[in-house]
Structure formats: structure tokens, C-alpha cells
């Protein structure tokens, strides 16, 4: 019996033990949450982060730095609906090779959380990463977070991303979104359905807006992206403002204001577009007085395989 065999035999023993269902784990999770709630401090922007967690894929880019929020002076360059209409045109005007189902979308993602005066910064501070996302999720994706230049001491983090159907519907895959209708009514319904998982029970416009934010947080086929912008342009309560990052790039943002911040605080959810090309740059969620979270995705490209080093990365949790 050689050295490999004894461990190999052991690994097979009771290996048919199934992964527990969410139902099975629910009581333990409830007990943990009950304890956690007794430790909760007066909250700063928990609801915000929770929503961002659900809003998900969103999380991306925006270089480190202050984003100054200010409204346009007069004359306003465009109405929010006009910005979104131009963005819809830009989405389909940009050349974009259609990926095959067995390919990966590889893109860069930066996310940053900033708190305001006196509010504890709850992290995640600054994340710079690269993502490889299987177009139809038939293969594990890959996440690579690199230490940012502002925090070189941070450890690198790599993870294989596996979808777990038992967790319920996550963010739809690129392939699924590609199959979505571009018909306004049907797509509006899809977005509201998605948004309901983030802001359950809210009015249709709010759910549609959050659904749109969620879907736009990762590469989306141009036709669907354009259709989403068109739907968003019809939502009540949208307005424009100017958001500027530290690279000096000034973007034009479409913002919708609600009271879904912590304790009913005002929350401003924005999509930020390039000021001249109207290409989507990213977004921002801001709760005045508490803080904001910025994200963007950039440099999407297609690849057939994961980098060779991914073979040594452990497969862990679920997406």
C-alpha cells in the first residue's frame, strides 16, 4: 500500500456525504444572526452594504480618490432621460465580439468604499481585481484581487467561483441575459423581478432601477444594455449630476434618490457615463452623511481558457 493510496482510500470513505441543503443550515444561520443582532451598534450604512452585496456584480471600478458630487450648473447639458437615451445609442455603437457559451469574459473591476466624516469605515476599502466569468457558467469562474497601489501590504486573493443552484437564483449569466427579450414590457418585468430580490416589496420603479443596476454590474450584451438604458430612462425620479474621479475624468451620472439608506436615510444610486461618449463607466451608491461605494468595470475581453495559475487555486464557496 503506497503513500498515496492510504490517503486516497481515506478520501473515498463516506465521500458520498452530501453537501447540506440551505434548509438544513438555516437554524444555525438564524442562531448566528440572532447573536449578531444583539451586538449590533447603532448602524452606519449596513443597509447600504447589504443592498450592495445583493446588487452584486456591480462592484467595480473607479480609481482611488474622492468623487465630488455636485449638480450641474445651468444650463444643464442634458436631462437624465436624454443621457440614458445617448447611452443606449452608445452601447450598440461600440464594436463588441459576441462570445461563445464556452468562453470567458475577462474584465477588470475596482470597488471602493468611502465613509464620511466621523463614520467608521466598514471596508472593503479598495479592491482592484480581475474577473474571469464563464459566459454560460458551465465552468468555474475566477477571481483575482490584487493589492492596490494605495495598500500594497494587502494580501492577494484568488478564488474559483462556482455556482450553486441550491442557493437560489444568483445574478443571471451573460448567456442568460443574451436570451432575454429586448421588448420593453418583457424586459421591464425581468428587471423588476431581479430587483425584487434586492429591494423586496418596493414599488415597481424602484425594483426596476435596482434590477438594472444589478444586471449592469458585469458585462452585458450590447442589445440588452441598450434596452435597459431605455427602460431606465422612463423611470420616475431620475436626475443628472456630475461625478468626478481622481484621475480627473469627469462623468455624467444618472441618479435615482430613495429612502432605502440605513434607518430610512436618503440613498442615491447612480450610473456614471463618460461625458462625451456616454459609455457606461460604473456607478456609485451614496448615502449622504454616511459614505459611498464606488464601482466600475473596464477592459472586458474574451478568452477561451483561464490562466494556467488558476489550476492551483482552491475551489471554495458558491456564487
Amino acid at each position: 500500500m503506497n503513500e498515496r493510496t492510504d490517503l486516497a482510500e481515506l478520501r473515498d470513505l463516506f465521500a458520498d456525504q452530501p453537501h447540506p441543503t440551505a434548509e438544513r443550515l438555516a437554524p444555525a444561520r438564524t442562531a448566528l444572526l440572532a447573536e449578531a443582532r444583539t451586538k449590533r451598534r447603532p448602524r452606519i450604512r449596513r443597509a447600504v452594504l447589504r443592498r450592495m452585496s445583493l446588487a452584486g456584480g456591480l462592484v467595480t471600478a473607479m480609481a482611488a480618490g474622492v468623487i465630488a458630487v455636485q449638480t450641474f450648473g445651468s444650463p444643464a447639458p442634458a436631462s437624465a432621460a436624454e443621457v440614458l437615451r445617448l447611452a443606449a445609442e452608445a452601447a450598440t455603437a461600440t464594436p463588441w465580439p459576441e462570445p461563445r457559451d464556452d468562453q470567458y469574459l475577462h474584465y477588470e473591476r475596482i470597488a471602493e468604499t468611502r465613509s464620511e466624516n466621523g463614520v467608521l469605515n466598514v471596508g472593503p476599502r479598495h479592491i482592484t481585481g480581475e474577473i474571469w466569468m464563464s459566459v454560460d457558467a458551465s465552468r468555474p469562474g475566477l477571481l483575482w484581487h490584487k493589492p492596490s497601489t494605495s495598500r500594497p501590504q494587502d494580501p492577494e486573493y484568488k478564488e474559483l467561483l462556482t455556482r450553486c443552484p441550491e442557493r437560489g437564483p444568483g445574478r443571471p449569466t451573460y448567456a442568460e441575459i443574451r436570451a432575454w427579450p429586448t421588448d420593453q414590457e418583457q424586459l421591464r418585468h425581468k428587471l423588476a423581478e431581479r430587483g425584487d430580490q434586492m429591494v423586496p416589496g418596493k414599488d415597481t420603479a424602484t425594483r426596476t432601477w435596482y434590477g438594472a443596476l444589478n444586471i449592469l454590474g458585469a458585462p452585458v450584451p450590447p442589445e440588452q444594455q441598450a434596452a435597459i438604458f431605455t427602460i431606465a430612462s422612463t423611470l420616475p425620479g431620475i436626475e443628472t449630476e456630475e461625478l468626478k474621479d481622481t484621475t480627473g475624468r469627469s462623468g455624467i451620472a444618472v441618479t435615482r434618490v430613495d429612502n432605502l439608506g440605513p434607518g430610512g436615510a436618503v440613498s442615491r444610486e447612480s450610473l456614471i457615463f463618460d461625458k462625451s461618449s456616454y459609455v457606461l463607466l460604473g456607478g456609485q451608491e451614496s448615502v449622504p452623511g454616511y459614505g459611498r461605494e464606488l464601482w466600475s468595470i473596464s477592459r472586458p475581453q474574451l478568452t477561451d481558457v483561464l490562466p494556467a495559475w488558476s489550476k492551483s487555486v482552491k475551489r471554495k464557496g458558491c456564487v
Binding site: M1, E3, T5, D6, L7, E9, L10, R11, D12, L13, F14, A15, D16, Q17, P18, H19, P20, R24, L25, P27, A28, R29, L32, L33, E35, A36, R37, K39, R41, I44, R46, L49, S53, L54, A55, G56, G57, L58, V59, R109, A111, L120, V122, G123, P124, I127, M133, G141, L143, H145, P155, L161, G170, R171, G217, K314, K316, G317, C318, V319
Partner: protein
């Protein structure tokens, strides 16, 4: 992709220092792995309790977590191992029962029992007997390597023991396992 998947475990734990409920994201990420590991040792029902105790204990000690370690699974397995020890007798009883009849005492219905019996070939039953005969601390190390897929260094972190101790415990355990397997002819059916 949820934000929770974009953060390292260390980031999540650090966030839970101020936002305790975020610890649930760590639960979502790892509870399944811990549960399956514990269930392989103790069965599903005991695993339910151990997982709950593990995450409550980890939550209460979250401020002691060394955030220089991005992955928290070894840390969580450490807590789980401590709680598994409270079920030591039940665990060895379980292995012995399997060694004897090829079925775990907590196996479900007749169909599941039949499946277990069919897979309990000549190697698995003596292997279970070997597990039952190990010292519990040696078994902890062996199973963290074999079933939880931890590296020696991760086992050392999980159990707060030197890496040399991990090696010696593992060697001791594997010697016993190899002895059992070496005396077994896997081509014949075990008939006890």
C-alpha cells in the same frame, strides 16, 4: 456576483467587527463545507449542532482573528474540531458500527443502507476500524488533511500546534491506516 464574494474571509471578518451581521456572509461561504466535514465524522444531526456551535464560537472570537490570513476555513475547522471532540465516543462508535456491518448507525432508509452496504467493500470497513482505533488528536490531523483538504500549515493553524507536531501525528495515524490496508486484500470481499 455579490459583493460578499469579492472580499476575502479576512475582509469579511474585519467588517463584522463593526457590522456583526456581516459574519453571516462567512457562514454562507463556509458552513456547507464545515457541515459536510463534521457529518462525515459524526452524522448529520450532530453536524447541525457542531456547525451552529462553531460559528457562534467563531463569531464571539472574531476580534482575535489574524487578518493577515485571508482564508478563514482553517480557523473555522479549528473550532469545529474542538466541538467534535465532545462527541468522541459517538464518533468511534459510528466507525466501529460501520466496520462491523458496513452501515452507519445514522444511515437513513433501507435504500440508503443497502447502498452503503454495497459500497462498504473490503477496504472501507477495516479503514473505519482503523479510524476508530486512532487517538483522537491523531484522527483530527488525519481527517483535516484527508477530508477537509487542509495543508499541513493550515492544520497547524487550525489546531494551534507546531507544524512538526502535525507531521508526527499524521505519520502516526497513517502508519496505522497503512497497516490495516496492507493486511487487506482489496480483491476479496470482507465478510465479517
Amino acid at each position: 456576483m455579490p459583493l460578499s464574494t469579492t472580499l476575502s474571509d479576512a475582509d469579511l471578518i474585519e467588517r463584522s467587527w463593526r457590522d456583526p451581521e456581516d459574519f453571516a456572509l462567512l457562514f454562507d461561504r463556509h458552513a456547507g463545507h464545515i457541515h459536510r466535514y463534521v457529518a462525515r465524522r459524526l452524522g448529520d444531526d450532530a453536524a447541525d449542532d457542531v456547525v451552529s456551535e462553531t460559528f457562534l464560537a467563531a463569531f464571539r472570537q472574531r476580534r482575535d482573528y489574524d487578518t493577515a490570513r485571508p482564508e478563514a476555513l482553517p480557523w473555522l475547522y479549528g473550532f469545529a474540531t474542538n466541538f467534535i471532540r465532545r462527541h468522541r465516543r459517538a464518533e468511534t462508535h459510528r466507525y466501529k458500527a460501520y466496520a462491523k456491518v458496513g452501515v452507519l448507525p445514522d444511515a437513513g432508509d433501507a435504500a440508503e443502507q443497502a447502498l452503503q452496504r454495497a459500497s462498504a467493500h473490503a477496504v472501507r470497513r477495516p479503514l473505519a476500524q482503523a479510524l476508530a482505533s486512532l487517538k483522537s488528536r491523531d484522527r483530527d490531523v488525519l481527517l483535516l488533511v484527508a477530508w477537509a483538504d487542509l495543508t499541513y500549515e493550515e492544520v497547524a493553524n487550525a489546531l494551534s500546534i507546531p507544524i512538526g507536531t502535525v507531521r508526527s501525528r499524521l505519520n502516526r495515524a497513517r502508519t496505522i491506516v497503512r497497516d490495516v490496508l496492507g493486511s487487506t486484500d482489496p480483491t476479496t470481499e470482507h465478510t465479517s
